[in-house]
Amino acid sequence: MTISLSSTIYPRQCLGETIAAFADFCSVSIVHQQNKSYSIEIIPISQVSNEEVLTNEFLNYLLAVSIENHLINRLN
C-alpha cells in the first residue's frame, strides 16, 4: 500500500522511528520524494492478517511521534 505524506506534518526522522517500532510487522520503503512530500510503501510481513489495520496503526503511531516532535521543537 502506497501513502503520500506531507513532510511538514510527518518529518522524515519520525518516519525512521516508526519504521523501527514496526519492524516486526512490516517493511517500509520510500518510493517517491518531493520538496514538501514523500510517498511510502508499507509491505506487511506474511503473518499479518489485516493489512488495513496495520497501515492505520502505523500511521497513528507516526502521527503521535510527529506531534511529540513538533511540540518538543516548539518548546526548545
Binding site: 503520500s4 506534518i9 496503526e57 500511521l59 502521527l63 506531534i67 513538533h70 511540540l71 516548539r74
Partner: protein, 130 residues
C-alpha cells in the same frame, strides 16, 4: 436513541468507516490541531494531509471498532478544537502575570514594588486623604 446520521454538517463522508474535516489553520493553529489529534489517537485512526488551500489541513478520521460512531467523534473532535483554541488564548492573555508569579516564587528578593500598596495610611504616599 438519537439519530446521528450526517449531524455534523462540516464533515465530509469518504466511506462508511471514514470521514474528513477540513480545518482552517488561521482559526485553529497547527499546534492546537496537533494537540487535539494526539488526544484522539486512542479512539480512532487519524491522518493529516494538506488541505485545498495553503491555510487548511484535512483531518481524516477512521473508525477503530465496529461500534464506533464517526459522527459523534467528529463532533467531539470539533469541540475539542474550540477548547484548545480558548485554552491557547487564555494562556497568551495571562502569560505575563503567570511569569511574574513564577519569578516572584523563585526570587530571593521581592521583585514587586509594594512601597505604595503597603505604606502606612498615616504617611498617605498617594495623597488619598483630603
Amino acid at each position: 436513541m438519537q439519530d446521528t446520521s450526517e449531524r455534523i454538517l462540516w464533515a465530509k463522508h469518504v466511506s462508511d468507516k471514514t470521514l474528513t474535516l477540513e480545518i482552517d489553520t488561521a482559526i485553529y493553529s497547527l499546534e492546537a490541531i496537533f494537540r487535539v489529534c494526539y488526544a484522539f489517537t486512542d479512539r480512532c485512526y487519524l491522518f493529516l494531509e494538506p488541505g485545498t488551500t495553503d491555510t487548511s489541513v484535512v483531518v481524516r478520521i477512521t473508525e477503530k471498532r465496529p461500534d464506533f460512531d464517526l459522527e459523534t467523534v467528529a463532533g467531539e473532535f470539533s469541540n475539542a478544537l474550540i477548547d484548545e483554541r480558548v485554552r491557547r488564548d487564555i494562556a497568551t492573555e495571562t502569560m505575563s502575570i503567570r511569569e511574574l508569579i513564577v519569578a516572584q516564587a523563585f526570587a530571593e528578593v521581592d521583585i514587586v514594588d509594594r512601597s505604595l500598596s503597603e505604606s502606612s495610611y498615616v504617611e498617605d504616599p498617594k495623597g488619598i486623604a483630603i
